[in-house]
């Protein structure tokens, strides 16, 4: 991680930053601060070995999560924006339009949605990168974002 607890604190205390972003930072920091780089993929693989022997592919993982999150937002009508994003993702997924290069992007999006919906994250392999990217956008390093 490129940021420490003080950076996180300043983001969380910043009134200009929206609640969902704070929640994402808070949760990612909570789990990542205990992890080493080499644990990330291992944790994710541990989660996606089913019946003790079958390791799901990245495509399968993403498909499964999109579906399960969609179900969750359908139950709760308050998440219109999140639902729209998920529907777009599902359409792309069903058309077979997520290439391997898009996988990481989808995983990050899903991780953010999981946190917003109060789920535990599963895509540990992208969590750190997501955290750093997010922090970069939310901190003073990125003036453009702050000015918006």
């Amino acid at each position: 991680m490129d940021y420490n607890i003080d950076d996180v604190k300043s983001v969380l205390r910043d009134n200009a930053i929206k609640f969902p972003d704070k929640k994402i930072i808070y949760n990612l920091y909570s789990v990542l601060s205990k992890l080493y780089d080499n644990d990330l993929t291992k944790y994710e693989n541990d989660i996606y070995i089913i019946n003790n022997n079958k390791l799901l592919t990245d495509q399968e993982r993403v498909g499964l999560e999109i579906e399960s999150l969609l179900k969750k937002v359908n139950e709760n009508q308050n998440n219109a924006v999140v639902r729209e994003i998920l529907i777009l993702m599902k359409q792309a997924y069903d058309k077979g339009e997520i290439s391997s290069s898009l996988i990481a992007y989808f995983k990050k999006l899903i991780t953010e949605i999981q946190i917003i919906l109060g789920e535990d994250i599963t895509f540990y392999s992208v969590a750190e990168e997501l955290f750093d990217e997010k922090m970069l956008k939310l901190t003073k390093d990125n003036k453009e974002y702050k000015e918006r």
Partner: protein, 695 residues
């Protein structure tokens, strides 16, 4: 309607086949009856009645063997002694050829009969299998994909109206597609559950912080309540209620970030935000209350009361959303079946638990071969497992699969009903239940066969036929009565006696190996404290086992029986070497594993004097040798032991005879008193529960 027509057609067919079977059996009986006649034919043809002879001739009638020829022989047979040798030889050869022909025909007929019978049995099996797919009105089970094509062929061939057949094909086709679609969804949801559970374990593991030392929060809350201003009392009371619920639902776990935000910070919004940041809202609220709010109440009461108010609102909203109505309810009977069978199957699965994944795959490959009808091939895959073990393993997997399907559907009934409709979901649930019952039966049968394979058929049969273990209670049952009364308060009042009765039946009628398989060891206490060393020793020698029925737990030990007592029990109570005497010394309402163990262990210590007395009475042969050893004992234990025996049996003098008589009297008393109580329990005598113990 079509389904009803088809079901009736199948049942009628099955009835027809059964009739045909009866006819075949009759025919076989007839052939058996002819055996005597054939034997007589070889001896003396004149003893056979004309009627019987006609029946036999009809069997083999041909140019060689005609009625007139046989009658002719019968007529001249009384003059056998007057005939010349040549004549005798000709007649004798003729009868021999006749008998041979009849035997040959009999054998042929029997063979035809048996193969016809076999073919009909196969037909019945197929028809019954198909009939089980539906009730009188609707389809209740899918056809497995392996059999779908042959079922459609079968359906096409049945003697029903062409249109009805077409409709049926469509209905089954439609049902199968929908069923497997539902099952696919269930499978997917189970995978998602598995993933979510693992993700949650990892997330918790990563978030876990050092154990947090907390103050006496309930004491603090009480103080706050006593000192609260009038307008605060209501809020404080609600917080006390919420705190108590949270304490049960979550654990206090502080982390760096919570601390950063909440320490010395009494801004309402910051607290609300922090709870929402955490994935486990209840845990976050409990942590906040325990560490940051309640201990600081006296110095910041005004701000904290505001935070309390928000907490009450947020808590109410999560309580509301987590209230899930039980949409589909299983009957008590089904619930008990699931609990019992799951426990039983889990026990059976233990024998495979330590196998590495590779070996489990070997078992699966062997099972595949067996299912393809290639047992020999299966044996060649690995010599380490018997075919029975392989089948048992496969059935356990199937049981677990069906149970996980059932649980998934019941737990998420609302979701499934909204996607597939109540009727289909209810039908699936019934089907999974039926499957579980069927598989459990098969597993039980399999286990019995395996035991026969391991221990030999005869011993097991003997054990099963005459099985009558003896269940006894300490203190003439007084303690057990008290326990039942205590349980009936917590458990369903009406269920207590039937459950205790069922458990005693299990102990009385189950052979020792099976009882061992369906019960479990009580783990030793973590600390013995200053418990007498002798009690500890006895605990180690007498493994306590735990039996479950519904929510009631039973602690018992096996009582050793000395050779001469064994003889006595055999003579008086029909006891044999396969029987056991079980001392059931405690019953209690389930408290959770470790607590169960504590309860059973505590009772063992508390009741030790009585338990030890019973063990001594049943397990000792008070013979000459025993007395010799007792009197030769040079230590001070000798006098203690003599006094103990006198007190226990209420006798003044220690002799072989006095001891033996007192011992038999005691055995009878213990068994009869226990038996009296058992009879009352079995009769569901509710007075037992109102008397509050004591006999």
């Amino acid at each position: 309607m079509n389904i009803g027509v088809f079901k009736k057609y199948l049942l009628d067919k099955i009835a027809d086949f059964s009739e045909k079977l009866k006819i075949i059996d009759e025919r076989n009986k007839l052939y058996d009856g002819l055996e005597d006649i054939i034997a007589a034919l070889e001896e003396n043809i004149t003893t056979i009645s004309d009627e019987a002879l006609t029946t036999i001739i009809r069997l083999v009638a041909s140019e060689d063997f005609t009625m007139s020829r046989i009658n002719e022989i019968k007529k001249i047979y009384p003059y056998w002694n007057l005939m010349d040798d040549e004549k005798k030889r000709v007649i004798s050869d003729y009868i021999k050829a006749f008998v041979n022909k009849i035997r040959e025909t009999q054998a042929k007929n029997r063979e035809n009969n048996n193969s016809e019978k076999e073919a009909i049995l196969v037909q019945i099996k197929t028809y019954e299998e198909y009939s089980a797919l539906m009730d009188d009105e609707r389809i209740i089970k899918p056809i497995s994909s392996d059999n779908f094509a042959s079922f459609m062929e079968f359906l096409n061939e049945v003697e029903l109206d062409h249109l009805v057949k077409q409709q049926l094909i469509l209905e089954f086709y439609d049902y199968n597609i929908k069923f497997y679609k539902r099952e696919e969804q269930i499978k997917k949801n189970i995978v998602v559950d598995e993933i979510k559970t693992k993700a949650s374990v990892i997330a918790k593991e990563l978030r876990q912080t050092k154990e947090v030392e907390t103050l006496d929060i309930e004491g603090l809350l009480e103080q706050i309540r006593v000192n609260a201003k009038e307008d605060e009392v209501e809020v404080i009371n609600q917080i006390i209620g919420i705190y108590k619920k949270l304490k049960v639902a979550a654990v206090v776990s502080d982390n760096e970030l919570i601390k950063e935000f909440l320490k010395d910070n009494f801004t309402v919004q910051d607290h609300i935000d922090t709870w929402s940041f955490e994935s486990d809202l209840k845990r976050a609220m409990l942590t906040d209350l325990t560490i940051y709010l309640i201990p600081n109440f006296n110095t910041h009461s005004k701000e904290i009361i505001e935070i309390f108010k928000s907490l009450i609102t947020v808590y109410a909203s999560i309580e509301k959303s987590s209230e899930k109505e039980e949409i589909i309810k299983l009957s008590e009977e089904d619930k008990t079946f699931i609990e019992d069978s799951e426990f039983y199957v889990l026990k059976q699965a233990e024998r495979f638990a330590d196998l590495p994944e590779k070996e489990k795959n070997v078992l699966i490959s062997m099972n595949d071969a067996i299912l393809r009808g290639k047992s020999e091939e299966a044996k060649m895959i690995s010599p380490n497992y018997s075919l029975l073990e392989v089948t048992l393993y496969a059935k356990i997997l199937e049981y677990n699969k069906q149970l996980s399907f059932l649980r998934e559907v019941i737990n998420n009934a609302e979701e499934y009903i909204s996607s597939f409709g109540l009727e289909d979901v209810q039908r699936d649930i019934n089907m999974y239940l039926e499957n579980l019952k069927q598989i459990t039966l098969e597993i039980k049968k399999n286990v019995t066969e395996l035991q026969e394979e391991l221990y030999g058929k005869n011993t097991l049969e003997n054990a099963n036929n005459s099985l009558n273990n003896i269940v006894i209670f300490p203190y003439n049952g007084k303690k057990i009565l008290e326990d039942m009364n205590a349980i009936s308060v917590e458990d369903d009042y009406k269920e207590t006696l039937p459950r205790v009765s069922a458990a005693i039946d299990k102990m009385t009628l189950t052979d020792a190996n099976t009882l061992f398989a369906i019960t479990e060891d009580i783990k030793p206490p973590k600390f013995w404290g200053n418990t007498d060393r002798f009690i500890q020793q006895s605990w180690e020698n007498n493994t306590i086992r735990r039996l479950r029925n519904g929510d009631i737990r039973f602690g018992f030990i096996t009582v050793g029986v000395s050779p001469s007592n064994m003889e006595y029990l055999k003579e008086k109570y029909g006891y044999d070497k396969n029987n056991r005497v079980y001392l059931l010394y405690t019953l209690f309402y389930k408290t959770g594993d470790n607590m169960d163990y504590n309860k059973a262990n505590n009772e063992f210590v508390v009741q030790f004097e009585e338990i030890n007395k019973i063990l001594t009475i049943f397990g000792t042969d008070f013979d000459e040798e025993y007395l010799k050893e007792l009197y030769n004992n040079k230590t001070k234990d000798k006098q203690i032991k003599i006094e103990y025996l006198k007190r226990m049996f209420g006798i003044n003098e220690i002799t072989v005879d006095s001891l033996r008589m007192a011992q038999l009297r005691a055995i009878d008393e213990i068994i009869n008193n226990s038996q009296d109580l058992i009879v009352k329990i079995q009769r569901n005598d509710e007075e037992l529960l109102t008397n509050g113990g004591g006999r």
